[in-house]
């Protein structure tokens, strides 16, 4: 008999699912559940989008130049900083 996956079980695996870190068999079960459950589709899509936003926001963050200068000075490496 085919196993029927519930939303609760889906949520427990959702993080590994979006990371592609699941067995093929479990992944297929989750895909099947997703095709039938709109709420879980929304949760997985908004979770993926949350992770995307975090990546995009973090991508261009750089250390301020003054902070870097003081770091090299403290490490006595300022004369090697190009």
């Amino acid at each position: 008999m085919e196993k029927h996956l519930h939303c609760k079980e889906f949520v427990e695996s959702i993080s590994n699912y979006v990371d592609g870190d699941l067995s093929e068999e479990l992944c297929a079960e989750l895909d099947k559940h997703l095709s039938e459950c709109e709420n879980c589709r929304i949760v997985v899509n908004t979770l993926k989008k949350t992770i995307d936003i975090i990546h995009e926001q973090a991508e261009n963050e750089k250390i301020p130049e003054g902070v870097k200068d003081r770091l090299f000075y403290r490490l006595k490496l300022e004369q090697f900083k190009k």
Partner: protein
């Protein structure tokens, strides 16, 4: 995110104190270490202290580095420990924020926000306001969840690297990551759910 492939470092030179090689290491890793400290502490001055202490400790202990993990993983571990020490100093009477459920299995995860906000314009996701909402949500996470989330989702470490940096089991990393991600999704869903009414 650290790209160790960008510029391979010579460990022998680092361990013998070659200043040019040390400079390369600091150039390569100062952005991510500062970012981790800033996200852990939400205070630029404290993040700068952690950055400096991390590299001072690293330079002092490089000779003892055995290469069992990546150099970056080792530096992350020092930075996280330094950040946690500062958090403890800030509020010595309060233990590090822990959620008793952080390491329990995944059975207790609840989902309350079922709002599809993915259709909002891309500009909403990249706005400064969203950045602030996200930062505030990250600060609300317990330290246990925050450290895992920062290393895995902001710095892009693998599950194994995150477990090495934090000396946790892979199962614990995955559990904490799930909880952190779901909490942030809930917070963003509340925020973007309100935005949806404007469109």
């Amino acid at each position: 995110m650290i790209n160790e492939e960008a510029e391979l470092l010579n460990l022998n030179k680092l361990q013998s104190g070659d200043p040019e090689e040390l400079t390369k290491m600091v150039h390569q890793f100062s952005d991510p270490i500062y970012r981790v400290a800033l996200r852990m502490l939400n205070d630029p001055a404290e993040a700068e202290d952690v950055l400096q202490e991390t590299f001072i400790k690293a330079l002092r202990s490089l000779k003892k580095f055995e290469g069992r993990s990546k150099l970056s993983t080792w530096l992350y571990r020092i930075a996280v420990n330094e950040s946690l020490m500062l958090i403890r100093k800030r509020k010595p009477e309060i233990p590090i924020t822990q959620d008793d459920n952080d390491d329990q299995d995944n059975a207790g995860i609840s989902v309350s926000q079922i709002v599809d906000w993915c259709c909002l314009p891309e500009s909403e996701f990249l706005s400064n306001e969203t950045r602030e909402v996200l930062n505030a949500a990250i600060q609300k996470l317990s330290e246990n969840l925050r450290t895992v989330f920062i290393l895995r989702d902001i710095e892009g470490l693998s599950i194994i690297e995150t477990s090495q940096a934090l000396e946790l089991t892979e199962t614990n990393v995955k559990t904490r990551l799930l909880r952190a991600r779901m909490k942030l999704r809930e917070e963003l869903s509340v925020y973007f759910g309100e935005k949806l009414t404007e469109y």
